[in-house]
């Protein structure tokens, strides 16, 4: 039995490029999270109109225009932040990044305010009916992802303000930005399912 050395093979491929690990990794994460959200959305749609009691969506849901505007524009601001970092302008990056962070936080505040009204004024809780169950779980699950995103954004902001983030970190920032874009895309789906189709 011979013991050949695999590296003794003649060179063949001159240009060997493979996708970047962080991009593939975050795409995998996005796919799996998309599957997760799909199940919650399916449960929401399945139970539409099947609540035996409690307030109906049409009666108490108001279209969340402000929070949607905040979240979707945060996608634009994060793209801008990425772009300026790629060109090396760290202080401008800080500005746009902070704006993104604040818009995300405002989305969460507006959601909390909506929930406060639904719980205390409209008497809708997770245990009230099928509508309550599916509403709070779907919207809440999304809000949890926004929260995680905001925390990560805040972490990067703190690091950046202290001078640790440079132009060379563009790809890493891009990875987080893709997660953030995903969270926004999910909001579009949740918005459609809950506030458009569901009413």
């Amino acid at each position: 039995m011979t013991h050949p050395r695999a590296d003794a093979l003649p060179a063949t491929s001159a240009d060997w490029t493979l996708p970047s690990r962080s991009r593939v990794g975050v795409i995998c994460l996005i796919c799996t999270e998309a599957a997760l959200f799909t199940i919650f959305a399916v449960a929401y749609l399945f139970y539409l109109g099947k609540s035996v009691s409690g307030p109906q969506p049409r009666q108490i849901l108001e279209i969340p225009v402000w929070s949607t505007v905040c979240l979707l524009s945060s996608s634009a601001t994060i793209m801008k932040a990425e772009r300026v970092l790629r060109r090396g302008f760290v202080s401008r990056f800080n500005l746009w990044w902070l704006l993104t962070l604040l818009l995300g936080a405002e989305f969460l505040r507006a959601t909390a305010s909506e929930w406060h009204r639904l719980i205390f004024t409209n008497n809708l809780t997770i245990g009230t009916s099928l509508f309550g169950t599916t509403f709070y779980s779907l919207v809440g699950f999304h809000a949890t992802h926004v929260t995680v995103g905001v925390i990560l954004l805040a972490l990067v902001f703190v690091l950046s303000v202290r001078g640790y983030v440079t132009q060379g970190h563009t790809e890493r920032v891009e990875t987080l930005a893709w997660y953030w874009h995903f969270v926004d895309a999910v909001w579009i789906v949740v918005f459609t399912v809950v506030y458009v189709v569901g009413r």
Partner: protein, 559 residues
């Protein structure tokens, strides 16, 4: 853009003798795919012994009608824990462990794409196993009945609701699998990224070993299917603790919705379990037949087809639920369809062996038995796919026989083949062929004796998950035979353990390439150094070592 990663992982060099505590510490903090792979496999084998004992107790109880060896409560916990353990704490870790160990070696990389994520995934699995088994000790039970979950491994609602499952036993099931599931997803992300981003120079997707293709499809299936279970479990927790009504039938909730969500996960899961078995067989059969795999492109195509179609067959577990005729027909059709690429694989393995010079070393013995047994499993699967036939066979011992033929006759046999095949690479020592034969033949006898007769008791109307049965139903003989088979299976495992222990102590030295094989892992030392390869290889075909050994007729002339 991406370039092959040459960074060195942190691992202890094996030549220096360190104090025991330091060695243990190294194992705990390691991010080396080889160490983690071995940890996964060893943990899986330990849980295998535990679940095997659980099964043995069940078979003892069922050996005779109206037996009272264990109470119904204990029996119901046993079958729940047996199933849950075997799927999540034996099957998953062993296949993820094999993936972990072999993928970088086979693609010419130094480690997985995300070594720390890898360790994270392992420890999540490990702790999920401890959590599940802690249920025997901790928490609260109703009237002191004990606390391990007793709702079956697929935990149908509303039996799992607060009203019917009091105490915390169901929560152990839910939380343990939730945590473990996140670990599986983490490892899947790792596998996909590794395969797409870390292949050595020249290894296009079309030149990857089939093992890699199969595990790539497995990882993608896990990414898409695991979330269904995770979501359902979150919903169950919300029901049980926050008063939600997802599966609360009295508030209009649907028991069938749980079933849909569970099986949207559950069916791809059983393919996730089986495909790595195919992966091992696809590497071992060619080497021991001395021929390349017959029809590599078709094998890849069949694998990808299985991956796709398997995502759309789940409701064949629900033929008795009362779906419409259209629904039943659709899922019957899709299920029968997925049998086609699966069958094609059997033919391709057959075609590989045909015209070869088959050497029946232990790995090949296990693969050969796998082919026969999996053929039975696949055919009983076709029977179950025919929905009207399933209306009789579902939830009977026929189904139990079917899936044990898949998971033991198929998966376990190929896992043993894989262990006998790659053990020399991982340890530098050969396992004994003599002990291997004892292991093999005892397992063939015991396995078929236990699960063959169960086809018959199912046909005679014996449902599954019953702790006892009356005499005179025509089930006694088959149950007795089934229980006798356990003795032979236990003996087989004993020989396996003996083989491993004696080999580690004084097995023959393996060398780099004891089987005269053709994929990259055989080009490095046994065991491989922490950095896997001195220099990262470059390949021109699917069998780089064949090219080196046969420069007069290299593969790249024929591909």
């Amino acid at each position: 853009m991406g370039v092959v990663d040459h960074s060195m992982p942190q691992s202890t060099p094996t030549e220096i003798r360190l104090p025991l505590l330091t060695q243990l510490h190294e194992w705990v903090v390691t991010v080396d795919h080889k160490c983690l792979g071995l940890m996964y496999i060893c943990s899986g084998l330990v849980f295998f012994a535990v679940a095997g004992i659980e099964a043995s107790i069940m078979r003892w109880q069922l050996a005779f009608p109206n037996n009272d060896a264990v109470s119904p409560e204990v029996f119901n916990r046993l079958f729940t824990m047996h199933g849950t353990t075997m799927v999540f704490l034996v099957g998953m870790p062993i296949i993820l462990g094999l993936a972990n160990y072999l993928i970088p070696l086979m693609i010419g990389a130094r480690d997985l794409a995300f070594p720390r994520l890898n360790a994270f995934g392992f420890w999540l699995f490990f702790f999920s196993g401890l959590l599940l088994y802690f249920s025997y000790l901790g928490g609260e039970g109703l009237a002191g009945h004990g606390t391990a979950p007793d709702v079956g491994w697929f935990a149908y609602a509303p039996l799992t609701g607060r009203a019917f499952s009091r105490g915390s036993s169901t929560d152990y099931w839910t939380l343990s699998l939730l945590v473990g599931g996140i670990g599986s997803i983490a490892t899947s992300v790792n596998i996909v990224t590794t395969v797409l981003c870390l292949r050595c120079k020249g290894m296009t997707l079309g030149r990857m070993p089939l093992f890699i293709w199969l595990l790539l499809v497995v990882a993608v299936m896990l990414l898409l299917a695991m979330p269904a279970l995770t979501a359902a479990q979150i919903m169950l927790l919300l029901d049980r603790y926050l008063g939600a009504h997802f599966f609360d039938t009295q508030a209009g909730g649907s028991a069938v919705l749980w079933q849909h969500f569970f099986w949207i996960f559950g069916h791809p899961e059983v393919y996730v379990l089986m495909l790595p078995g195919f992966a091992a067989a696809s590497e071992i059969i060619p080497v021991f037949s001395r021929k390349p795999i017959f029809g590599y492109p078709a094998m890849v195509g069949a694998t990808v087809s299985i991956g796709f179609i398997a995502m759309g067959v789940w409701a064949h577990h629900m033929f008795t639920v009362g779906m419409t005729a259209m629904g039943n027909t659709f899922f019957a059709a899709s299920t029968m369809l997925v049998a086609v690429p699966t069958g094609i694989k059997i033919f391709n393995w057959l075609g590989t062996m045909y015209g070869g010079k088959i050497r029946f070393a232990t790995p090949m013995l296990f693969c050969t038995a796998f082919l026969f047994q999996f053929l039975v499993a696949g055919l009983t699967g076709v029977m179950l796919a025919v929905a009207p036939f399933d209306w009789q066979l579902s939830d009977s011992y026929f189904v139990v026989a079917h899936f044990h033929y898949v998971l033991i006759g198929g998966l376990l046999f190929t896992i043993f083949a894989a262990i006998y095949y790659w053990f020399p690479k991982a340890t530098g020592r050969m396992l004994s062929e003599t002990l291997g034969r004892w292991h093999f033949w005892l397992l063939v006898l015991g396995f078929n004796l236990t699960f063959g007769p169960q086809h018959i008791s199912g046909i005679l109307g014996m449902p599954r998950r019953i702790y006892t049965y009356d005499a005179g139903r025509g089930w006694e003989l088959w149950n007795l035979l089934s229980s006798i088979g356990v003795v032979f299976q236990a003996a087989a495992i004993f020989f396996f353990v003996w083989n491993v222990v004696q080999s580690l102590r004084r097995g023959d030295s393996a060398g780099d390439d004891p089987w005269d094989a053709w994929t990259l892992e055989w080009s490095t030392t046994s065991p491989p150094p922490p950095y896997n390869f001195e220099t990262l290889p470059e390949v021109r075909s699917r069998r780089p070592l064949w090219d080196l050994k046969h420069p007069e007729d290299p593969d790249w002339r024929h591909e």
